[in-house]
Amino acid sequence: MVDGFWGNIFRKAKKDEDNVLSMLKVVPILDGLSKDELKEFERIVHRRHYEPNENIFWEGEPGVGMYIIQEGTIKIYKTLPDGNDKELAILKNGDFFGELALLDESPRSASAIALEKCHILGLFRPELFDILERKPKLGLQVTTKLAQMIGNRLRITNTELQSLCAKFHKPEKLSKIPSHDMLLEESKTILKKV
Protein backbone atom coordinates (compact mmCIF):
# COMPACT_ATOMS: atom_id res chain seq x y z
CA MET A 1 0.00 0.00 0.00
CA VAL A 2 2.90 2.31 0.89
CA ASP A 3 4.52 1.47 -2.43
CA GLY A 4 1.28 2.32 -4.16
CA PHE A 5 1.09 5.66 -2.35
CA TRP A 6 4.67 6.69 -3.20
CA GLY A 7 4.29 5.18 -6.66
CA ASN A 8 1.30 7.44 -7.29
CA ILE A 9 3.18 10.53 -6.10
CA PHE A 10 6.24 9.80 -8.23
CA ARG A 11 4.08 8.88 -11.26
CA LYS A 12 2.25 12.20 -10.89
CA ALA A 13 5.52 14.14 -10.61
CA LYS A 14 6.96 12.30 -13.65
CA LYS A 15 3.79 13.01 -15.65
CA ASP A 16 3.99 16.68 -14.71
CA GLU A 17 7.67 16.81 -15.69
CA ASP A 18 6.95 15.14 -19.07
CA ASN A 19 4.08 17.56 -19.63
CA VAL A 20 6.30 20.57 -18.92
CA LEU A 21 9.07 19.19 -21.14
CA SER A 22 6.65 18.74 -24.04
CA MET A 23 5.40 22.33 -23.51
CA LEU A 24 8.94 23.70 -23.48
CA LYS A 25 9.86 21.78 -26.64
CA VAL A 26 7.44 23.84 -28.75
CA VAL A 27 8.84 27.20 -27.61
CA PRO A 28 10.98 28.47 -30.54
CA ILE A 29 13.86 29.68 -28.34
CA LEU A 30 14.19 26.18 -26.83
CA ASP A 31 13.83 24.42 -30.16
CA GLY A 32 16.48 21.78 -30.89
CA LEU A 33 17.61 21.30 -27.28
CA SER A 34 18.26 17.78 -26.00
CA LYS A 35 16.13 16.23 -23.26
CA ASP A 36 18.84 16.86 -20.65
CA GLU A 37 19.17 20.48 -21.73
CA LEU A 38 15.39 20.92 -21.59
CA LYS A 39 15.42 19.44 -18.09
CA GLU A 40 17.72 22.29 -17.07
CA PHE A 41 14.93 24.69 -18.09
CA GLU A 42 12.25 22.50 -16.53
CA ARG A 43 14.03 23.05 -13.22
CA ILE A 44 13.83 26.84 -13.51
CA VAL A 45 10.29 27.34 -14.83
CA HIS A 46 7.69 28.56 -12.39
CA ARG A 47 4.25 26.96 -12.45
CA ARG A 48 1.56 29.58 -11.83
CA HIS A 49 -2.22 29.33 -11.59
CA TYR A 50 -4.54 32.23 -12.41
CA GLU A 51 -8.23 32.69 -11.75
CA PRO A 52 -10.54 34.26 -14.38
CA ASN A 53 -10.03 38.06 -14.64
CA GLU A 54 -6.70 37.89 -12.86
CA ASN A 55 -3.89 39.88 -14.47
CA ILE A 56 -0.64 38.14 -15.34
CA PHE A 57 1.14 41.45 -15.89
CA TRP A 58 0.32 45.12 -16.44
CA GLU A 59 1.24 47.44 -19.30
CA GLY A 60 4.08 49.84 -18.46
CA GLU A 61 5.56 47.71 -15.67
CA PRO A 62 9.08 46.27 -16.03
CA GLY A 63 9.07 42.90 -17.79
CA VAL A 64 10.66 39.93 -16.04
CA GLY A 65 10.18 37.11 -18.50
CA MET A 66 7.95 35.05 -20.76
CA TYR A 67 4.95 32.82 -20.14
CA ILE A 68 3.79 29.62 -21.85
CA ILE A 69 0.12 28.69 -21.55
CA GLN A 70 -0.24 25.14 -20.30
CA GLU A 71 -3.99 25.32 -20.04
CA GLY A 72 -6.50 28.16 -20.41
CA THR A 73 -7.07 31.36 -22.39
CA ILE A 74 -5.23 34.64 -22.04
CA LYS A 75 -6.16 38.03 -23.45
CA ILE A 76 -3.49 40.56 -24.37
CA TYR A 77 -4.84 44.13 -24.28
CA LYS A 78 -3.77 47.72 -24.27
CA THR A 79 -5.38 50.49 -22.22
CA LEU A 80 -6.24 53.46 -24.43
CA PRO A 81 -5.89 57.08 -23.26
CA ASP A 82 -9.69 57.25 -22.79
CA GLY A 83 -9.44 54.44 -20.22
CA ASN A 84 -10.98 51.72 -22.39
CA ASP A 85 -9.14 48.52 -23.18
CA LYS A 86 -8.32 47.43 -26.71
CA GLU A 87 -7.93 43.68 -27.27
CA LEU A 88 -4.76 42.77 -29.17
CA ALA A 89 -4.78 38.97 -29.09
CA ILE A 90 -6.37 35.91 -27.54
CA LEU A 91 -3.89 33.18 -26.72
CA LYS A 92 -4.61 29.53 -25.95
CA ASN A 93 -2.88 26.29 -24.88
CA GLY A 94 0.71 26.08 -26.10
CA ASP A 95 0.94 29.78 -27.00
CA PHE A 96 3.59 31.92 -25.40
CA PHE A 97 3.99 35.64 -24.76
CA GLY A 98 6.29 38.22 -23.21
CA GLU A 99 9.52 36.68 -24.59
CA LEU A 100 11.19 40.07 -25.19
CA ALA A 101 11.32 40.59 -21.42
CA LEU A 102 13.90 37.79 -21.37
CA LEU A 103 16.41 40.32 -22.69
CA ASP A 104 15.88 43.45 -20.63
CA GLU A 105 13.70 45.18 -18.08
CA SER A 106 11.97 47.54 -20.53
CA PRO A 107 8.30 48.18 -19.73
CA ARG A 108 5.62 45.77 -20.95
CA SER A 109 3.93 47.11 -24.08
CA ALA A 110 0.54 45.55 -23.16
CA SER A 111 -1.26 43.87 -20.30
CA ALA A 112 -2.20 40.17 -20.06
CA ILE A 113 -5.24 38.80 -18.27
CA ALA A 114 -6.63 35.30 -17.74
CA LEU A 115 -10.09 34.80 -19.26
CA GLU A 116 -10.61 31.48 -17.50
CA LYS A 117 -8.76 29.32 -15.00
CA CYS A 118 -5.22 29.14 -16.37
CA HIS A 119 -2.14 27.08 -15.73
CA ILE A 120 0.91 28.93 -16.98
CA LEU A 121 4.63 28.24 -17.05
CA GLY A 122 6.90 31.21 -16.45
CA LEU A 123 10.46 31.41 -17.74
CA PHE A 124 12.23 34.42 -16.29
CA ARG A 125 15.25 36.53 -17.17
CA PRO A 126 17.18 36.20 -13.88
CA GLU A 127 17.06 32.41 -14.10
CA LEU A 128 17.89 32.42 -17.82
CA PHE A 129 20.92 34.60 -17.07
CA ASP A 130 21.77 32.20 -14.29
CA ILE A 131 21.90 29.33 -16.81
CA LEU A 132 23.96 31.56 -19.12
CA GLU A 133 26.48 31.94 -16.30
CA ARG A 134 26.54 28.32 -15.19
CA LYS A 135 26.19 26.63 -18.61
CA PRO A 136 27.44 29.20 -21.14
CA LYS A 137 27.11 26.83 -24.16
CA LEU A 138 23.46 26.11 -23.43
CA GLY A 139 22.76 29.76 -22.61
CA LEU A 140 24.39 30.88 -25.86
CA GLN A 141 22.24 28.44 -27.84
CA VAL A 142 19.08 29.92 -26.35
CA THR A 143 20.09 33.58 -26.65
CA THR A 144 21.10 33.00 -30.30
CA LYS A 145 17.62 31.59 -30.94
CA LEU A 146 16.14 34.63 -29.19
CA ALA A 147 18.22 36.98 -31.36
CA GLN A 148 17.16 35.11 -34.51
CA MET A 149 13.53 35.39 -33.48
CA ILE A 150 13.83 39.13 -32.87
CA GLY A 151 15.67 39.55 -36.20
CA ASN A 152 12.85 37.74 -38.00
CA ARG A 153 10.26 39.92 -36.31
CA LEU A 154 12.15 43.07 -37.28
CA ARG A 155 12.24 41.87 -40.89
CA ILE A 156 8.49 41.22 -40.84
CA THR A 157 7.84 44.62 -39.22
CA ASN A 158 9.97 46.33 -41.87
CA THR A 159 8.06 44.60 -44.65
CA GLU A 160 4.72 45.55 -43.10
CA LEU A 161 5.89 49.12 -42.62
CA GLN A 162 7.05 49.19 -46.22
CA SER A 163 3.64 48.13 -47.43
CA LEU A 164 2.04 50.72 -45.15
CA CYS A 165 4.31 53.39 -46.60
CA ALA A 166 3.32 52.29 -50.07
CA LYS A 167 -0.31 52.96 -49.18
CA PHE A 168 0.33 56.54 -48.10
CA HIS A 169 3.19 57.58 -50.39
CA LYS A 170 4.14 57.63 -54.04
CA PRO A 171 5.70 54.35 -55.31
CA GLU A 172 8.94 56.03 -56.56
CA LYS A 173 9.93 56.75 -52.97
CA LEU A 174 10.16 53.01 -52.36
CA SER A 175 12.51 52.24 -55.21
CA LYS A 176 15.27 51.65 -52.67
CA ILE A 177 15.09 49.71 -49.39
CA PRO A 178 14.36 52.26 -46.63
CA SER A 179 16.83 52.70 -43.83
CA HIS A 180 15.88 52.32 -40.16
CA ASP A 181 15.79 56.12 -39.64
CA MET A 182 13.74 56.59 -42.78
CA LEU A 183 11.25 53.95 -41.61
CA LEU A 184 11.02 55.66 -38.25
CA GLU A 185 10.30 59.00 -39.89
CA GLU A 186 7.72 57.39 -42.17
CA SER A 187 5.98 55.70 -39.29
CA LYS A 188 5.84 59.00 -37.37
CA THR A 189 4.26 60.71 -40.40
CA ILE A 190 1.75 57.88 -40.76
CA LEU A 191 0.86 58.01 -37.10
CA LYS A 192 0.33 61.75 -37.31
CA LYS A 193 -2.00 61.26 -40.28
CA VAL A 194 -3.94 58.51 -38.49
Binding site: I44, H46, R47, R48, Y50, N53, E54, N55, I56, F57, W58, G60, E61, P62, V64, G65, K75, Y77, T79, G83, N84, D85, E87, E105, S111, I113, L115, F124, P126, D130, E133, R134, K135, P136
Partner: protein, 368 residues
Protein backbone atom coordinates in the same frame (compact mmCIF):
# COMPACT_ATOMS: atom_id res chain seq x y z
CA UNK B 1 -35.73 55.48 27.66
CA UNK B 2 -33.73 53.96 30.47
CA UNK B 3 -30.30 55.62 30.55
CA UNK B 4 -28.67 52.54 32.13
CA UNK B 5 -29.48 50.40 29.10
CA UNK B 6 -27.06 51.99 26.69
CA UNK B 7 -26.03 49.81 23.79
CA UNK B 8 -22.82 50.59 21.99
CA UNK B 9 -22.91 49.59 18.34
CA UNK B 10 -19.54 49.24 16.75
CA UNK B 11 -19.62 49.44 12.98
CA UNK B 12 -16.87 47.23 11.74
CA UNK B 13 -16.96 46.58 8.03
CA UNK B 14 -15.20 43.65 6.34
CA UNK B 15 -12.41 45.82 4.99
CA UNK B 16 -11.36 47.34 8.29
CA UNK B 17 -11.73 43.96 10.02
CA UNK B 18 -9.37 42.34 7.50
CA UNK B 19 -6.96 45.26 7.87
CA UNK B 20 -6.94 44.90 11.65
CA UNK B 21 -6.46 41.16 11.28
CA UNK B 22 -3.55 41.75 8.89
CA UNK B 23 -1.89 44.14 11.35
CA UNK B 24 -2.47 41.66 14.15
CA UNK B 25 -0.67 38.93 12.19
CA UNK B 26 2.14 41.34 11.28
CA UNK B 27 2.62 42.15 14.99
CA UNK B 28 2.50 38.46 15.95
CA UNK B 29 5.06 37.65 13.23
CA UNK B 30 7.28 40.50 14.42
CA UNK B 31 7.00 39.26 18.00
CA UNK B 32 7.89 35.74 16.91
CA UNK B 33 10.94 36.99 14.99
CA UNK B 34 12.17 38.97 18.01
CA UNK B 35 11.59 35.95 20.30
CA UNK B 36 13.41 33.70 17.85
CA UNK B 37 16.21 36.23 17.70
CA UNK B 38 16.65 36.32 21.47
CA UNK B 39 15.98 32.66 22.28
CA UNK B 40 17.80 31.02 19.41
CA UNK B 41 20.47 33.58 18.75
CA UNK B 42 23.28 31.02 18.50
CA UNK B 43 21.37 29.03 15.89
CA UNK B 44 20.48 32.24 14.09
CA UNK B 45 24.11 33.35 14.09
CA UNK B 46 25.17 29.97 12.66
CA UNK B 47 22.54 30.37 9.97
CA UNK B 48 23.59 33.95 9.12
CA UNK B 49 27.28 32.98 8.92
CA UNK B 50 26.33 30.05 6.67
CA UNK B 51 24.38 32.37 4.36
CA UNK B 52 27.36 34.74 4.16
CA UNK B 53 29.66 31.82 3.37
CA UNK B 54 27.27 30.47 0.75
CA UNK B 55 27.28 33.87 -0.98
CA UNK B 56 31.07 33.96 -0.79
CA UNK B 57 31.52 30.49 -2.30
CA UNK B 58 28.80 30.67 -4.97
CA UNK B 59 31.08 32.10 -7.75
CA UNK B 60 33.65 29.37 -7.17
CA UNK B 61 30.96 26.67 -7.43
CA UNK B 62 29.64 28.27 -10.63
CA UNK B 63 33.12 28.49 -12.14
CA UNK B 64 33.56 24.73 -11.62
CA UNK B 65 30.06 24.02 -12.95
CA UNK B 66 31.15 25.74 -16.20
CA UNK B 67 33.35 22.71 -16.89
CA UNK B 68 30.18 20.59 -17.18
CA UNK B 69 30.59 19.23 -13.66
CA UNK B 70 27.45 18.54 -11.63
CA UNK B 71 26.70 21.11 -8.92
CA UNK B 72 27.01 18.67 -6.04
CA UNK B 73 30.51 17.67 -7.22
CA UNK B 74 31.41 21.33 -7.76
CA UNK B 75 30.44 22.08 -4.14
CA UNK B 76 32.46 19.06 -3.01
CA UNK B 77 35.54 20.29 -4.92
CA UNK B 78 35.21 23.77 -3.36
CA UNK B 79 34.88 22.31 0.16
CA UNK B 80 37.86 19.99 -0.29
CA UNK B 81 39.95 22.89 -1.68
CA UNK B 82 39.08 25.05 1.33
CA UNK B 83 39.93 22.19 3.70
CA UNK B 84 43.33 21.81 1.97
CA UNK B 85 44.00 25.58 2.15
CA UNK B 86 43.06 25.71 5.85
CA UNK B 87 45.20 22.63 6.64
CA UNK B 88 48.17 24.13 4.78
CA UNK B 89 47.64 27.43 6.56
CA UNK B 90 47.57 25.69 9.92
CA UNK B 91 50.72 23.70 9.12
CA UNK B 92 52.56 26.81 7.91
CA UNK B 93 51.37 29.41 10.40
CA UNK B 94 50.29 27.43 13.47
CA UNK B 95 53.75 27.49 15.12
CA UNK B 96 53.99 31.29 14.88
CA UNK B 97 50.33 31.83 15.93
CA UNK B 98 50.75 29.44 18.89
CA UNK B 99 53.94 31.20 19.88
CA UNK B 100 52.17 34.58 19.75
CA UNK B 101 49.17 33.34 21.77
CA UNK B 102 51.44 31.62 24.30
CA UNK B 103 53.53 34.77 24.67
CA UNK B 104 50.41 36.87 25.31
CA UNK B 105 49.00 34.32 27.79
CA UNK B 106 52.35 34.03 29.58
CA UNK B 107 52.59 37.80 29.84
CA UNK B 108 49.11 38.01 31.31
CA UNK B 109 49.64 35.07 33.68
CA UNK B 110 53.06 36.13 34.91
CA UNK B 111 52.20 39.70 35.55
CA UNK B 112 49.21 41.10 37.32
CA UNK B 113 47.22 43.68 35.28
CA UNK B 114 48.31 46.34 37.79
CA UNK B 115 52.00 45.53 37.20
CA UNK B 116 51.46 45.50 33.46
CA UNK B 117 49.74 48.90 33.47
CA UNK B 118 52.45 50.35 35.72
CA UNK B 119 55.05 49.17 33.23
CA UNK B 120 53.07 50.78 30.43
CA UNK B 121 52.83 54.00 32.46
CA UNK B 122 56.58 54.05 33.13
CA UNK B 123 57.40 53.48 29.43
CA UNK B 124 55.09 56.33 28.42
CA UNK B 125 56.47 58.69 31.08
CA UNK B 126 60.07 57.93 30.14
CA UNK B 127 59.48 58.64 26.47
CA UNK B 128 56.93 61.42 26.71
CA UNK B 129 57.59 63.49 29.88
CA UNK B 130 54.94 65.98 28.80
CA UNK B 131 52.24 63.37 29.40
CA UNK B 132 53.42 62.92 33.00
CA UNK B 133 53.19 66.61 33.78
CA UNK B 134 49.60 66.82 32.65
CA UNK B 135 48.58 63.58 34.41
CA UNK B 136 47.70 61.99 31.08
CA UNK B 137 49.88 58.94 31.67
CA UNK B 138 48.01 58.21 34.95
CA UNK B 139 44.65 58.48 33.18
CA UNK B 140 45.80 56.24 30.36
CA UNK B 141 47.16 53.64 32.80
CA UNK B 142 43.99 53.64 34.88
CA UNK B 143 41.91 53.19 31.71
CA UNK B 144 44.09 50.25 30.68
CA UNK B 145 43.83 48.75 34.21
CA UNK B 146 40.02 48.94 34.13
CA UNK B 147 39.92 47.43 30.66
CA UNK B 148 42.13 44.51 31.70
CA UNK B 149 40.04 43.93 34.85
CA UNK B 150 36.88 43.88 32.76
CA UNK B 151 38.53 41.49 30.34
CA UNK B 152 39.34 39.04 33.12
CA UNK B 153 35.82 39.34 34.53
CA UNK B 154 34.40 38.60 31.10
CA UNK B 155 36.77 35.69 30.47
CA UNK B 156 34.06 33.17 31.45
CA UNK B 157 31.74 34.69 28.85
CA UNK B 158 34.57 34.56 26.34
CA UNK B 159 35.03 30.86 27.18
CA UNK B 160 31.33 30.27 26.44
CA UNK B 161 31.69 32.18 23.19
CA UNK B 162 34.68 30.01 22.35
CA UNK B 163 32.61 26.84 22.92
CA UNK B 164 29.94 28.30 20.69
CA UNK B 165 32.59 29.17 18.11
CA UNK B 166 33.91 25.59 18.12
CA UNK B 167 30.39 24.21 17.67
CA UNK B 168 29.97 26.62 14.74
CA UNK B 169 33.05 25.13 13.06
CA UNK B 170 31.08 21.91 12.67
CA UNK B 171 27.58 23.24 12.00
CA UNK B 172 28.41 26.09 9.59
CA UNK B 173 29.94 23.87 6.85
CA UNK B 174 26.89 21.55 6.94
CA UNK B 175 24.47 24.52 6.68
CA UNK B 176 26.59 26.11 3.95
CA UNK B 177 26.70 22.87 1.96
CA UNK B 178 22.91 22.55 1.89
CA UNK B 179 22.40 26.25 1.17
CA UNK B 180 24.72 25.96 -1.84
CA UNK B 181 23.13 22.72 -3.01
CA UNK B 182 19.45 23.60 -2.54
CA UNK B 183 19.56 27.41 -2.35
CA UNK B 184 17.97 27.91 -5.77
CA UNK B 185 15.26 25.35 -5.03
CA UNK B 186 14.48 26.95 -1.65
CA UNK B 187 14.31 30.39 -3.27
CA UNK B 188 12.00 29.11 -6.02
CA UNK B 189 9.70 27.37 -3.52
CA UNK B 190 9.43 30.57 -1.46
CA UNK B 191 8.67 32.69 -4.54
CA UNK B 192 6.02 30.13 -5.51
CA UNK B 193 4.06 31.12 -2.38
CA UNK B 194 3.77 34.78 -3.42
CA UNK B 195 0.30 35.84 -4.66
CA UNK B 196 0.02 36.47 -8.44
CA UNK B 197 -0.46 40.20 -7.91
CA UNK B 198 3.02 40.63 -6.44
CA UNK B 199 4.72 37.71 -8.22
CA UNK B 200 6.72 39.50 -10.95
CA UNK B 201 7.77 42.27 -8.57
CA UNK B 202 8.91 39.76 -5.93
CA UNK B 203 10.79 37.63 -8.45
CA UNK B 204 12.67 40.63 -9.81
CA UNK B 205 13.27 42.01 -6.31
CA UNK B 206 14.59 38.73 -4.89
CA UNK B 207 17.10 38.29 -7.72
CA UNK B 208 18.31 41.88 -7.59
CA UNK B 209 18.74 41.79 -3.83
CA UNK B 210 20.49 38.43 -3.92
CA UNK B 211 22.89 39.69 -6.65
CA UNK B 212 23.66 42.88 -4.77
CA UNK B 213 23.99 41.00 -1.48
CA UNK B 214 26.40 38.58 -3.10
CA UNK B 215 28.65 41.27 -4.51
CA UNK B 216 28.50 43.29 -1.26
CA UNK B 217 29.38 40.36 1.00
CA UNK B 218 32.08 39.00 -1.33
CA UNK B 219 33.52 42.49 -1.77
CA UNK B 220 33.63 43.29 1.94
CA UNK B 221 35.12 39.95 3.00
CA UNK B 222 37.68 39.80 0.18
CA UNK B 223 38.66 43.39 0.93
CA UNK B 224 39.11 42.51 4.62
CA UNK B 225 41.21 39.48 3.66
CA UNK B 226 43.54 41.53 1.41
CA UNK B 227 43.89 44.35 3.96
CA UNK B 228 44.57 41.75 6.67
CA UNK B 229 47.33 40.08 4.63
CA UNK B 230 48.89 43.47 3.78
CA UNK B 231 48.81 44.50 7.46
CA UNK B 232 50.42 41.23 8.57
CA UNK B 233 53.21 41.62 5.98
CA UNK B 234 53.79 45.29 6.98
CA UNK B 235 53.89 44.53 10.72
CA UNK B 236 56.13 41.52 10.14
CA UNK B 237 58.56 43.64 8.09
CA UNK B 238 58.53 46.34 10.76
CA UNK B 239 59.39 43.64 13.29
CA UNK B 240 56.39 44.31 15.53
CA UNK B 241 55.55 41.59 18.05
CA UNK B 242 52.30 39.61 17.51
CA UNK B 243 52.29 40.77 13.87
CA UNK B 244 50.03 37.92 12.78
CA UNK B 245 47.31 38.49 15.39
CA UNK B 246 47.34 42.29 15.14
CA UNK B 247 47.32 42.17 11.32
CA UNK B 248 44.45 39.66 11.31
CA UNK B 249 42.54 41.93 13.71
CA UNK B 250 43.14 44.92 11.42
CA UNK B 251 41.76 42.90 8.48
CA UNK B 252 38.65 41.87 10.43
CA UNK B 253 38.09 45.43 11.63
CA UNK B 254 38.22 46.64 8.03
CA UNK B 255 34.76 45.09 7.50
CA UNK B 256 33.36 47.92 9.62
CA UNK B 257 33.13 51.15 7.63
CA UNK B 258 34.49 54.47 9.05
CA UNK B 259 35.63 53.11 12.46
CA UNK B 260 37.13 49.80 11.34
CA UNK B 261 40.41 51.07 9.85
CA UNK B 262 41.08 53.26 12.92
CA UNK B 263 40.17 50.49 15.38
CA UNK B 264 42.39 48.09 13.42
CA UNK B 265 45.40 50.42 13.60
CA UNK B 266 45.18 51.12 17.35
CA UNK B 267 46.56 47.74 18.60
CA UNK B 268 49.50 48.01 16.20
CA UNK B 269 50.29 51.56 17.36
CA UNK B 270 49.99 50.61 21.06
CA UNK B 271 52.25 47.60 20.51
CA UNK B 272 54.83 49.73 18.70
CA UNK B 273 54.71 52.25 21.55
CA UNK B 274 55.21 49.54 24.16
CA UNK B 275 57.95 47.80 22.19
CA UNK B 276 60.10 50.70 21.09
CA UNK B 277 58.70 53.66 22.97
CA UNK B 278 59.68 55.92 20.12
CA UNK B 279 57.36 58.30 18.34
CA UNK B 280 59.12 57.56 15.05
CA UNK B 281 57.96 53.93 14.97
CA UNK B 282 54.41 55.05 15.82
CA UNK B 283 54.62 57.50 12.92
CA UNK B 284 55.96 54.80 10.56
CA UNK B 285 53.14 52.40 11.50
CA UNK B 286 50.53 55.16 11.11
CA UNK B 287 51.92 56.03 7.67
CA UNK B 288 51.91 52.34 6.68
CA UNK B 289 48.29 51.89 7.80
CA UNK B 290 47.23 55.07 6.01
CA UNK B 291 49.03 53.80 2.88
CA UNK B 292 47.20 50.44 3.14
CA UNK B 293 43.89 52.30 3.50
CA UNK B 294 44.72 54.48 0.48
CA UNK B 295 45.63 51.40 -1.53
CA UNK B 296 42.38 49.81 -0.39
CA UNK B 297 40.35 52.86 -1.37
CA UNK B 298 42.03 53.45 -4.72
CA UNK B 299 42.77 49.93 -5.91
CA UNK B 300 41.57 46.95 -3.87
CA UNK B 301 37.96 48.10 -3.44
CA UNK B 302 37.76 48.55 -7.23
CA UNK B 303 39.35 45.17 -7.83
CA UNK B 304 36.92 43.27 -5.63
CA UNK B 305 34.01 45.44 -6.82
CA UNK B 306 32.60 46.48 -3.48
CA UNK B 307 29.03 47.58 -3.84
CA UNK B 308 29.30 51.05 -2.44
CA UNK B 309 26.73 51.00 0.32
CA UNK B 310 27.19 54.29 2.09
CA UNK B 311 26.16 54.28 5.74
CA UNK B 312 26.24 57.25 8.06
CA UNK B 313 28.84 56.88 10.87
CA UNK B 314 26.10 57.16 13.53
CA UNK B 315 24.16 54.32 11.90
CA UNK B 316 27.35 52.22 11.79
CA UNK B 317 27.94 52.96 15.48
CA UNK B 318 24.38 51.94 16.46
CA UNK B 319 24.59 48.79 14.32
CA UNK B 320 27.91 47.75 15.93
CA UNK B 321 26.46 48.39 19.39
CA UNK B 322 23.29 46.38 18.74
CA UNK B 323 25.21 43.54 17.04
CA UNK B 324 27.70 43.39 19.91
CA UNK B 325 24.94 43.48 22.53
CA UNK B 326 23.00 40.56 21.05
CA UNK B 327 25.69 38.36 19.56
CA UNK B 328 29.07 39.44 20.90
CA UNK B 329 32.19 40.03 18.82
CA UNK B 330 31.05 38.02 15.78
CA UNK B 331 27.70 39.82 16.00
CA UNK B 332 29.41 43.18 15.41
CA UNK B 333 30.80 42.08 12.04
CA UNK B 334 27.65 40.24 11.03
CA UNK B 335 25.54 43.26 12.02
CA UNK B 336 27.56 45.59 9.78
CA UNK B 337 27.14 43.23 6.82
CA UNK B 338 23.47 42.77 7.67
CA UNK B 339 22.91 46.55 7.81
CA UNK B 340 24.47 46.90 4.34
CA UNK B 341 22.17 44.18 3.03
CA UNK B 342 19.17 45.88 4.64
CA UNK B 343 20.07 49.16 2.98
CA UNK B 344 20.37 47.50 -0.44
CA UNK B 345 17.02 45.75 0.15
CA UNK B 346 15.24 48.97 1.06
CA UNK B 347 16.57 50.86 -1.98
CA UNK B 348 15.58 47.98 -4.33
CA UNK B 349 12.16 47.74 -2.67
CA UNK B 350 11.61 51.46 -3.22
CA UNK B 351 12.56 51.11 -6.90
CA UNK B 352 10.21 48.16 -7.35
CA UNK B 353 7.26 49.80 -5.59
CA UNK B 354 7.69 52.86 -7.81
CA UNK B 355 7.95 50.95 -11.09
CA UNK B 356 5.46 48.16 -10.42
CA UNK B 357 2.80 50.61 -9.20
CA UNK B 358 1.05 47.86 -7.23
CA UNK B 359 -1.03 50.41 -5.34
CA UNK B 360 -2.19 52.23 -8.50
CA UNK B 361 -3.24 49.27 -10.64
CA UNK B 362 -6.71 49.86 -12.05
CA UNK B 363 -9.10 46.91 -12.29
CA UNK B 364 -9.62 45.56 -15.80
CA UNK B 365 -12.61 47.36 -17.35
CA UNK B 366 -13.35 45.39 -20.52
CA UNK B 367 -15.86 42.59 -20.52
CA UNK B 368 -14.86 39.26 -21.97
Amino acid sequence: MNPSNHTIVVHLNKHSFLRSLKWFFVLVAFGLIVTLFVVMKSLLLTFIVSILLAFLLEPAVRAIENYNIKRIWAIGIVFVSIAIIITMGIILFLPSITAEVQAITANLQLRHPAVLTDEFKTTIEENFPLMKQRGLSEELASYLRHTLDDLIKESIDILFEFVHFVSMIFTVPVFTFFLLKDGQRIKKSLIQLVPNRYFEMTLSLVHKISNQMGSYIRGRLLDALIVGILSIITLYLLNIRYAFLIGALAGCANVIPHFGPIAGAIPAIVMALMETGSLVSVLIITICFVAIQLLDYLLISHMVIIKNVHMHPIIVFIVIFVGGYFMGAIGMFVAVLFAGILKVTISELRWSLKHYRIFERAPHSASH
